[in-house]
């Protein structure tokens, strides 16, 4: 019910996972410094990009995100010493899987941002939103024919009280 009418321009929903120590603080800094980026970017705080479970990314896409961004500390600057490397390994493999599952590569990106890089983080968000806007909505759940699943019973992952997919 939230699908924008075809006449209004498409505004993607981008979910960005942030690291408590670097990119989340960079986002705070962007706020403090009133640096603007598109409102379609929504943040989730993790303690480390290494906490990013691939299931979170898949869930986000399944629940309506048009793109997912993994943000974290620069290589060798991890608050937890080397855990962003594990995040990088998962990112690389998950990226391959997502592409094979039919998600365009631009829809899953990674961005490095230290706590001081509010400006850079905002710029990266803006760039990603632009890229995804030109790709159009992901919206695979509403493809003609695919929507046959809507008759599925209550066991569907999204609870009935939740609305369908935004975007």
């Amino acid at each position: 019910m939230s699908i924008a009418p075809s006449t209004s321009p498409f505004e993607p929903v981008v979910l960005a996972f942030t690291c408590n120590w670097c990119s989340y603080r960079a986002a705070d800094l962007a706020g403090t410094a009133r640096i603007k980026y598109p409102p379609s970017v929504r943040l989730i705080r993790l303690m480390c990009s290494g906490r990013l479970d691939p299931a979170f990314v898949l869930r986000a896409f399944a629940s309506g995100a048009d793109a997912v961004v993994m943000t974290g500390c620069w290589p060798a600057d991890c608050h937890y010493r080397i855990q962003n490397v594990k995040a990088l390994r998962r990112f690389e493999l998950l990226h391959r899987v997502l592409v094979d599952l039919g998600i365009e590569p631009e829809r899953f990106q990674r961005v490095y941002a230290s706590a001081a890089e509010g400006q850079q983080l905002a710029a990266a968000f803006t760039r990603i939103v632009d890229e995804v806007r030109s790709l159009g909505p992901l919206a695979w759940g509403r493809q003609p024919g695919i929507a046959a699943e809507s008759e599925a019973p209550a066991d569907e992952p999204s609870t009935p009280a939740l609305e369908g997919v935004p975007g």
């Binding site: 989340y24 705070d28 480390c48 706590a115 997919v165 935004p166």
Partner: protein, 690 residues
């Protein structure tokens, strides 16, 4: 597949209260907070929201009381506050919940200020996003479980890294409070840059006169252990309980026997340029104390310049030492220290003026750096305080002082070095005091914002110093004919005088480059060693630039002085004291509470696959061979969550950031916020009007 997450089950049916803060107009100016409140009450009702309110300042005592009252009267067992960043006020609202008898970890603070009102310009979009953020918080907090903070004991000892004025100040404050301090300094003596200076601005009091008493006190304080000529090589552990390895480089002097008489230095035949203390314009011996008031008083022997180490013969110092204190076979020694807190006062390094090639430093003899001039003007420096050209004899008749060398320059450092206006004007005064020279100051802007600073600016102007507003393009010895023929042998400063709006070429005898301040070249490596973060330039990042300016992101590691960024002596001292005060407070608490964000293994479900075993940089994951299961040692776990995300069996869960919490937040954030059903125009059923 079921939606069951892996987090702890909620104790009772969630009853969630949502509190939307206006933050004055900070939030309300860009977000329709009433709409967010009404939407939460109506649309999140099925998810357990029983009360939703808005309030001008949730963090005020009245705002907090509102939450406390609802928890008590409405039986709330979950609270979501939509306000600022959790890094700002998470503690505040957790405290409010705790006062009302609710476990503080059942409160979630979501940021609609830093993440919405401050970064967006479209009110409708910012409001819709705020709703999504609130929904994320509500669906997340449903999955929260009550937690108890982890308590760690605080070791009384403190490590201070860097023996400049900031480090000395921090060490003295902590030591005076009765707690042990290890003060580590890379150079042979403590004192730092301040010991090199002659006068300090704007009062012109003698740097040595005010610094050396403090150095002596630090050197003799019963609670301070000095580790000079030493470096920290390894840091492990966490707040309250750090283990630090310090490498003592060999001094080649037995400090138990040495009396500091100076005979070795006097008799040493090797004389080399001293690039450190004398800034390259003076000499020292191979065995030396950088300056007479050095603390400790013991010399060090530099094997790079020592004739014995280079050619195998000499040993003049060994032969002539009256107490036989020279030890040419001394080896490096590593000591291990246990400390509870750390202060990084690692200071700065001067910008290398050779990098600004148009200014000719290193090529043109009579171009000097500010640090060279500091030594030259110092009565105990290489010229005995005489202001002379590079020939060591001639007094300059005209001196040009160039501001912002390497600072406010996108080719080098974009930032202002904070001290260089004032030091440049101090130089002008000193030149005028010692010579009859005409002095030019070439500046971009004069930044004299400190106490007594602008008065000093007026004074230097009154003394006759000529101020030229413009960035110097070039310092050259190439003359333009015919008009410059008479200036052969002088230097020409080419500058656009922006006040008169034309190019000028000003001949001078001497140029002083007021160089900027840069982080230590190994700042990033040091930051990594101490587990903190640096800005892209290399300055230590504060926990909060205004409200927490001496703490770092890492618990137990503080910073002071120029390690945080360019600053003058009073501010360096202030930050040293501030770091000390923070640490003394902690030591007196004896223990400290840490966020209980930890991983745990459900050993029933662990199959012993050993995927996780090698993933923890803190070695918190142990494998029990007998039971063939992995276990997490909570004392070592730092809560990053890498193993939680790695466990193929889903047997590892993480408190505070469980799968269920994060998946809930994802669902909430992606919930439709602009659909037709939740039009804020309709009167919400459950809304409690404010």
């Amino acid at each position: 597949m079921t939606r069951a997450g892996r987090g702890a089950a909620a104790p009772a049916e969630p009853r969630v209260g949502v509190y939307v803060c206006h933050c004055g107009t900070n939030i309300a100016g860009m977000v329709d907070v009433e709409a967010v409140r009404d939407w939460a009450a109506e649309r999140l009702g099925p998810h357990g929201v029983v009360v939703a309110r808005d309030y001008p300042f949730m963090c005020s005592s009245l705002g907090q009381e509102l939450i406390e009252q609802d928890v008590r009267e409405q039986g709330l067992n979950r609270v979501v506050v939509a306000a600022c960043s959790p890094h700002m006020h998470e503690k505040t609202f957790r405290g409010a919940c705790e006062r009302a008898g609710l476990n503080p970890y059942l409160c979630e603070l979501v940021s609609i200020r830093e993440q919405a009102s401050w970064v967006h310009t479209d009110r409708d979009a910012a409001t819709a996003k705020s709703k999504a953020i609130v929904a994320g918080g509500v669906l997340r907090v449903r999955e929260h479980a009550p937690l108890e903070p982890l308590r760690v004991p605080i070791n009384e000892a403190t490590l201070v890294v860097g023996g400049g004025i900031a480090g000395i100040t921090a060490a003295l404050e902590i030591a005076d409070a009765g707690f042990p301090v290890h003060l580590v300094e890379r150079q042979p003596s403590i004192g730092g840059h301040m010991a090199q200076f002659d006068k300090t601005f704007p009062t012109l009091d003698c740097a040595a006169c005010i610094l050396t008493p403090r150095m002596v006190t630090a050197g003799t304080h019963p609670n301070i252990t000095l580790h000079t000529w030493s470096e920290v090589t390894e840091v492990s552990g966490y707040v309250g309980n750090f283990t630090v390895k310090v490498l003592h480089r060999p001094r080649y002097v037995d400090t138990d026997l040495c009396t500091g008489c100076g005979i070795c230095e006097e008799k040493c035949p090797a004389r080399v340029v001293d690039p450190v203390f004398e800034a390259g314009i003076g000499y020292r011996k191979a065995v030396y104390r950088p300056f007479p008031q050095a603390v400790p008083k013991f010399p060090v022997l530099d094997p790079e310049s020592c004739i014995f180490f280079q050619r195998g013969t000499c040993k003049a110092c060994e032969k002539l030492c009256p107490t036989h204190a020279i030890r040419l076979d001394q080896q490096p020694e590593e000591v291990t220290l246990q400390v509870g807190n750390i202060v990084l006062a690692t200071g700065f390094e001067s910008f290398d003026a050779r990098r600004v090639e148009p200014y000719g430093y290193g090529r043109l003899a009579n171009v000097f750096t500010s640090l060279e001039f500091e030594r030259m003007s110092n009565a105990s420096g290489p010229t005995g305080g005489r202001i002379v050209l590079r020939d060591g004899v001639t007094q300059p008749q005209t001196v040009g002082i160039v501001h912002c060398v390497g600072s406010r320059d996108r080719n080098f450092n974009a930032y202002c070095s904070a001290i260089c206006c004032m030091q440049s004007m101090k130089f002008a005064h000193l030149v005028r005091e010692h010579t009859d020279a005409t002095v030019y100051e070439f500046y971009i802007d004069i930044r004299a914002a400190g106490k007594g600073f602008d008065e000093f600016y007026q004074r230097v102007q009154d003394e006759g110093t000529i101020f030229v507003r413009g960035r110097v393009a070039e310092v050259t010895d190439v003359l333009h004919l015919p008009e410059e023929a008479k200036h052969d042998g002088q230097l020409i400063i080419q500058v656009e005088d922006t006040l008169v709006g034309r190019q000028r070429r000003i001949p001078v005898d001497m140029v002083i480059l007021s160089v900027g301040l840069e982080p230590q070249p190994d700042a990033e490596e040091v930051a990594r060693r101490f587990g903190i973060t640096c800005s892209s330039e290399g300055w230590v990042i504060e926990r909060h630039p205004k409200l927490d300016p001496v703490a770092t992101m890492t618990e137990g590691v503080f910073a002071a002085g120029c390690a945080l960024g360019p600053r003058d002596i009073p501010t360096s001292v202030a930050t040293g004291s501030a770091a000390a005060a923070r640490i003394i407070g902690r030591i007196q608490q004896r223990e400290m509470a840490l966020e209980p964000i930890r991983a745990t293994v459900d050993t029933e479900r662990c199959s012993g696959c050993r995927i996780c075993n090698d993933l923890c940089p803190y070695s918190a994951i142990e494998f029990d061979e007998a039971r063939a299961v992995a276990e997490v040692n909570p004392a070592l776990c730092q809560g990053c969550g890498v193993c939680v995300a790695a466990c193929p069996a889903g047997a590892i869960s993480g408190t505070g950031f469980s799968d269920a919490q994060i998946l809930g937040q994802i669902e909430g954030i992606l919930m439709s916020t602009n659909g037709t059903g939740g039009s804020p125009a309709t009167e919400p059923e459950r809304a409690v009007p404010a």
